[in-house]
């Protein structure tokens, strides 16, 4: 799954169905702060064929109740169920150094410090103890999990679309299925 370019579209939410009888829709926001979805409006379908302005009326069970531009009746709202909402990448605000959007990182090529290709950046996790990069590639039994630190990831080059990693040997062994380490004592 290649990561988007700066001019590509990013999925920021989806329409879960109609809400009420006056044409409101229930929107599921994928943003880190759900209400931020309104800041990226107008939102469109992935191909850009349809576009809507969006106004949040309130938080409701399972998402946000929103007014979409041009949607006046419950029937119109119901017809939009399942539609995913996209915003252009350039509408996201700029970030300080050493902070990156997941959408920019996912899909980048991952190289080691010697220039050998390890694989592709598949996902980014945060379980509460710092961000973790999940790298998948040929010959890997399990994905490689690398902490997103300056030591382990010295270079992130978005223009060249690559990340250079210097993973600890223990991590590298696990991804290649070679090191089982000692079992629990």
């Amino acid at each position: 799954m290649p990561g988007p370019d700066r001019d590509s579209m990013i999925c920021v939410g989806a329409i879960a169905g109609a809400f009420g009888v006056r044409g409101e829709v229930r929107v599921k926001s994928f943003c880190s702060e759900p209400e931020d979805i309104a800041a990226y409006a107008p939102l469109s379908t992935e191909d850009g064929a349809h576009s809507w302005t969006l106004k949040i009326s309130r938080a409701v069970k399972g998402g946000l109740a929103c007014w979409l531009g041009g949607v006046k009746t419950r029937e119109q709202a119901e017809a939009l169920r399942g539609v995913r909402l996209f915003a252009p990448r350039d509408r996201l605000p700029a970030l300080p150094d050493d902070e990156f959007y997941h959408a920019d990182l996912i899909g980048l090529d991952v190289l080691d410090t010697g220039g050998a290709r390890l694989g592709r950046l598949h996902a980014i996790h945060d379980h509460g103890a710092g961000d973790i990069l999940e790298i998948t590639g040929p010959g890997m039994r399990t994905p490689l999990l690398i902490p997103f630190t300056r030591e382990a990831v010295p270079t992130v080059d978005l223009t060249a679309r690559r990340v250079i990693v210097d993973p600890p040997v223990e991590v590298l062994g696990e991804g290649r299925g070679g090191d089982d380490d000692e079992a629990e004592e």
Binding site: I10, C11, V12, G13, S29, F30, C31, S32, D36, Y40, L92, L95, D98, E99, F100, Y101, H102, A103, L105, I106, A123, I124, H125, D126, H127, G128, A129, G130, D131, I132, T142, P143, L145, I146, P147, F148, T149, R150, E151, V153, V156, P168, V169, E170, V171, E174, D181, A183, E184, E185
Partner: protein, 92 residues
């Protein structure tokens, strides 16, 4: 005084040994552990543990706020891939 206070926090002994060894070596390594039940102690701050989740070792960089919690809390056993949307990652 409650029982848990006078007994002190539980930590598997091998975790203590591995952490001490890693600290002495001074290398920036991932300490692989299987003990999800062990409490995070102040002497673990700054170390990176690979906490087993039943399938793989999840890197856990220990910070001060994590003291007193269990390693297992930072190594979920179920995987969820959400949408990237506007989520951010910070390199530390």
């Amino acid at each position: 005084m409650s029982r848990s206070v006078w007994k002190g926090p539980f930590v598997d002994s091998y975790v203590l040994k591995k952490a001490a060894k890693s600290r002495e070596s001074g290398r920036n390594e991932v300490i692989k552990i299987w003990s999800r039940r062990s409490t995070i102690l102040p002497q673990f701050v700054g170390l990176t543990f690979g906490v087993y989740n039943g399938q793989k070792h999840i890197p856990v960089n220990v910070t001060e706020e994590m003291i007193g919690q269990k390693f297992g809390e930072y190594s979920p056993t179920r995987t969820y891939y959400g949408h990237a949307a506007d989520k951010k990652a910070k390199r530390k």
